[in-house]
Amino acid sequence: MKDAMIQINNLNVYYSNKIALQDVNISIPSGKITGIIGPNGAGKSTLMKSMLGLIDYQGTVSFGRNKLEQVQKDIAYVEQRQDLDLTFPINVFDTVLLGTYPKLGLVKRPGKKEKQLAKEALETVDMQEYSDHQISELSGGQLQRVFIARAIAQQPEWFFLDEPFVGIDVVSEEVIIDVLKKLRDQGKSMVIVHHDLSKVTKYFDHLVMLNEEVIADGPVDQVFTKQYLGNIYGTGFVEALTGGVISD
């Protein structure tokens, strides 16, 4: 699967003349859970959106030998802040079922198999009893779990999750990360933006540390160090931020 990794070369992103990402050259391995960390405004979401072709950028992004267009059906994306109309007439189950649409292709309707996938995904995030509820009736954390379920129902090769655990209680977070790790063990790949530095060594195999440019990238045990963290967040804060779980 090595040839399936994401290769990013000379990536630059500008927002109306303000630079958001500068000269990013990294590769993201497949079959691993890759974390993207960095302070607010570091460009984490921007990096994700450019990989997904959702914003304009300079440079190249390739998925193994493929261009993005050839693998898009196999990509599930959970946005950081879903700017959605929650009054849309749709219930929880149908929202998760939407995840199965991309692979169905045009015209075909979701059938038994798709409904089963949606049901299982809802059980994974422990939201099955809300199946018939309108999405407007959910709390922020419950809604987030529904979107994660939708990504799981999509059965993608790649998961792109932008701060997926914001607003989710600790127990659900553990359950979901376990599911993601199982999927990883089956060969799926994940890219996850995450804020909680104390979880980095526990969740991630690979890490990209970002602050407008790439500060470090590589296997977690090699790059999650005091020195690099100090480079991004300032040396004084490293101990407090990581809760002590850190190599030198």
Binding site: I90, N91, V107, F160
Partner: protein, 281 residues
Amino acid sequence: MINNFVDGLMNYQFLQNALITSLLVGFVSGILGAFIILRGMSLMGDAISHSVLPGVAVSYMFGLNYVFGASFFGILTAILIGYITEKSTLKNDTVIGIVFSSFFALGIILISFAESATNLYHILFGNVLAVRDSDIVLTAIVTVISLIFILIFFKELKLTSFDPVMAKAAGLPVKFFHYALMFLLTLVAVVSLQTVGTILVISMLVTPAATAYLLTDNLKIMIVLSALIGMLSSIIGLFFSYSYNLASGATIVLTAAVFFLLAFLFAPKKGLIVRNRLSRN
């Protein structure tokens, strides 16, 4: 009075034509309208229905069927609004306001140059009692195209309406569906000219759909209800128009508005009365 209307329907071809056309328009604007309001494009619908005016004028000048000119200007409006919004930092509703009022103004001037057959008043307010056979055929074609499009792409329309970002990330042609809907919207605006007139087309697109939205939590049911309410408004509106010699556009639109008001007050879950009772307990 109802007997009188039924008699008229039996005896007068023009009234039969009017009924068929307005039923078709009620149906097609009902099903399209559901997507228009869910995508937050009501204002866009208004813009397009006004912007077809210069197209109608140009068609008359060149002796073409007004469909061609009107469709051209409708699509041009959609593209222009999309382009300016993307290339400026202005909000979408501002851009819509600028573009459609300009086109409408251009239309008024062009209409005054175009001679004879053109009657600005009828274009603006509709004249359903003067519908010709060719208009019925046209309306039927547009209705069938729209219905087929929505049946075939229901799944994609649902996804791109609810979550365009996910749709785009998963590789769906989100822009295609946007412009396809704009195109159908234009066609509906064109065929509605006769029934309700340019100014009131937006009502047929938005009011029945909004009424249906208040009555259900399910997209499919909403679309069906929207079409039914659209058709019902058309029949009742036409009845009042014929019986009291009133402008058909106005009576149809007011009927739709009455349905909306009823739903706004009495809808089982989203109605004002139920909601008030719930918040008091």
